[in-house]
Amino acid sequence: MTQEASGKPDAKKVLVIGGGVAGITAAIEAAEAGCQVVLVERAPSLGGRVARMNQYFPKLCPPACGLEINFKRMKSNSSIQVLTQAEVQDLAGSPGDYTATVKISPRYVTDACTQCGECVKVCPAERSSEFDYGMSKTKAVYLPQANAFPALYALEREACPAGCDLCVKACAYGAIDLNQKAETKTISVSAVIAATGWVPYDASKITNLGYGRCANVVTNVIMERLASVSGPTQGKILRPSDGKEPKTVAFVQCAGSRDENHLPYCSAVCCSASLKQATYVRSAYPEAKVKIFYIDIRTPGRLEDFYTKVSSDPMVELIKGKVAKVEEDPATKDVILEVEDVLHGKKITERVDLLVLATGIVPQTQGLPAAATLDEFGFVDNRPGKTGFYGAGCVRRPEEVSATVQDATGAALKALQCAVRSAHHG
């Protein structure tokens, strides 16, 4: 399933941890500049958070569009070795001369898989889909996502009934191997790029905003799945409680962000994300009303044009004031929110069909090697003068996709410089 990196022993080699848009970009950029790259991804497919979006900035394309191009660049470049379901367990050594220990968990599906889907038809067991944030289920043997890379099914062995081998029998290509074992690899590299991305802030911690307590309070990442054709509702935005089409949708900005009780920093992308999701609602339901409650709308640079465009829609109302109380009507499951309309100095109570919490970005630094130094907010800190280990993308700072791509390109250059230095002196 993976191409072995065919480098000479003294080749410049870079390890990229994380196969989201940042890691993919860093890997391709470094490889196209002549480096050997090992890309390690924990999930069974590359794509990360971007793959789970309905549309992404700046051009509001579906994620397949950008990811496809990158997967193609990757396939045509023999300098990139991709390891999925793999995690870096240890990183020893120093800049220019690292030894990484990578644990690869068994996929139980080999490169012989043709994605015919016969295994899924016979599989008796189910697993919760992490890809859909737990909103849907797949069979224990499953395709990680549409356009999966590598284009192979995977099997969650923990979900299998004891002794079951129906999928093995159903596979005409002999692609399912239940005896696969975890393996450990040691890889020598000159530099490391951490592109492990982010996780959405746990909205249930913001108790006054009702997530987990009110059925029709969702988060912005769930909204992306609801709007996505590959999502649990096949792209129809429906209320979780009754599957009704919402006529009023409200967004709570800074749900957890810029809040010292939760995330003390601004997550930078949530204002644009809510404006974008307002367009999902508006194009799906021409009668629907959208209300966005904000402290300040932060849409820097060219995103301001997007803000101007969305806010000029008469059905989209932006109200200055942070929602601080959310209740549920027990009969209708409507969401009732309370906020002070700051510009008018009145407290208002709104009843809406669906409430979206614009939750923020938490750096995914769990399991990163000790070489990663973190800043006061827990993001990977690329201190000036620090070489060998670089953060890129949302693990370094909250940013939208285009900024992430630029950041990853910069990190690739830094890693290359480190590799070249070590090749000269080493």
Binding site: N208, C254, R258, D259, E260, N261, H262, I295, K320, G321, K322, V323, A324, K325, E338, V339, E340, V342, G345, K346, K347, I348
Partner: protein, 362 residues
């Protein structure tokens, strides 16, 4: 375009708010979480978000005349939810302190009463008056010994009634300015019509009860207020009674008024200690508590504890100790009354008037 409005920030005022318990004022970023967190804040004119920005801008006159300062009961729900740690509850407390200092007349007394350095001065008038009385006043020794041997009632009562008159006059001056301010800020409810319902609301702690948390403070404050009201009533009745000659102190232990007074004193002591303990137990609250709060609470607790101690010492006939403690008791009461319009004591009057002025006519 509307005419531009020129704001003139009173920077001295901002510094005073920062120094008197509102130290985190400037962290507020107007998200308005506080206005929603507050269960007491009305829909048509929510607080404290607006008061936070007025304070940040140093708009002293507009702010100190704002009745919302007195509708806040310092529950702290706003402070708990505040995403910035701006502690709006503490800021409003500081603003109330500033309001009392601002409206109280004459202002020289106000400055003195609110300055920690002048703390000993609060007790000088009492020490002089009661010291003189003890040294040179008329003495009539009885057995068993009574307080009236050294501090005869026919002298004490006129002193206290005279002081009460002065204090009421000072209160009237301060409240007059305050009511003018309230009117200019749009609080137009009839104060005369509203004062009884407001007093009932205060005595029952109806609004206090709506606070989301802080049950300790509810009970502490309720007990202190009721006990204090009882003692004030009792003092007036005994004062008039002895002057008119139909009551004679010391009252017997079994006298209903005596029993009532002792119960009230115990209630104030318990309430006052709960309030003190509440502020002492929490580091954040300790930080937000200023001289203005401490001095008031300590004098209050000091009065009831010396009162109870003096009573016990008299019963035990420990002569020197009983007169000394009673002297301290008198000095503390004198300080509390004389400086009532300038200390936290005055919050009672301002709050009642503000609540009366903002009552909705039904």
């Amino acid at each position: 375009m509307a005419e531009p409005i020129l704001l003139t920030p009173d920077t001295e005022f901002i510094k005073n708010v920062l120094a008197s318990g509102g130290g985190d004022l400037k962290k507020g970023f107007q998200c308005a979480t506080c206005s929603v967190a507050c269960t007491l804040s009305p829909e048509d004119s929510p607080f404290p978000r607006k008061q936070m920005i007025l304070a940040q801008w140093g708009l002293k006159d507009k702010l100190l005349a704002d009745p919302a300062l007195w509708l806040c009961h310092n529950c702290g729900d706003c402070t708990t939810l505040c995403p910035r740690g701006a502690k709006p509850g503490n800021v409003l407390g500081a603003l109330r302190n500033q309001a009392i200092q601002h409206f109280a007349a004459p202002s020289c007394l106000s400055r003195m009463a609110t300055s920690p350095k002048a703390w000993p001065v609060l007790f000088v008038p009492g020490i002089l008056v009661f010291g003189a009385l003890a040294l040179w006043g008329p003495k009539e020794i009885t057995e068993p010994r009574e307080f009236a041997n050294v501090f005869p009632l026919h002298v004490l009562e006129p002193i206290f009634f005279a002081v009460s008159g002065l204090v009421l006059l000072a209160f009237a001056m301060g409240l007059f300015k305050f009511i003018k301010g309230l009117r200019s800020s749009g609080a137009d409810g009839s104060i005369l019509a509203g004062i009884i319902p407001a007093a009932v609301e205060i005595m029952t702690h109806k609004r206090f009860k709506e606070c989301g948390k802080e049950k300790n403070r509810f009970w502490g404050h309720l007990l202190t207020l009721w006990g204090f009201a009882g003692l004030a009533l009792m003092g007036t009745v005994v004062g008039i009674g002895t002057m008119a000659g139909f009551m004679h102190t010391p009252l017997a232990w079994t006298n209903p008024w005596k029993i009532f007074a002792n119960v009230c004193a115990a209630v104030v002591l318990v309430g006052g200690l709960i309030l003190l303990g509440d502020r002492l137990a929490d580091a954040e609250k300790r930080k937000a508590t200023t001289y203005f709060d401490w001095s008031f609470l300590l004098i209050l607790v000091g009065i009831v504890s010396t009162g109870i101690a003096a009573e016990l010492l008299r019963t035990g006939q420990l002569v020197t100790a009983m007169y000394t403690v009673y002297f301290v008791h008198l000095v503390l009461i004198f300080a509390l009354f004389l400086f009532a319009p300038y200390t936290k004591f005055a919050h009672m009057a301002y709050r009642t008037v503000a609540m009366a002025a903002t009552r909705k006519r039904t």
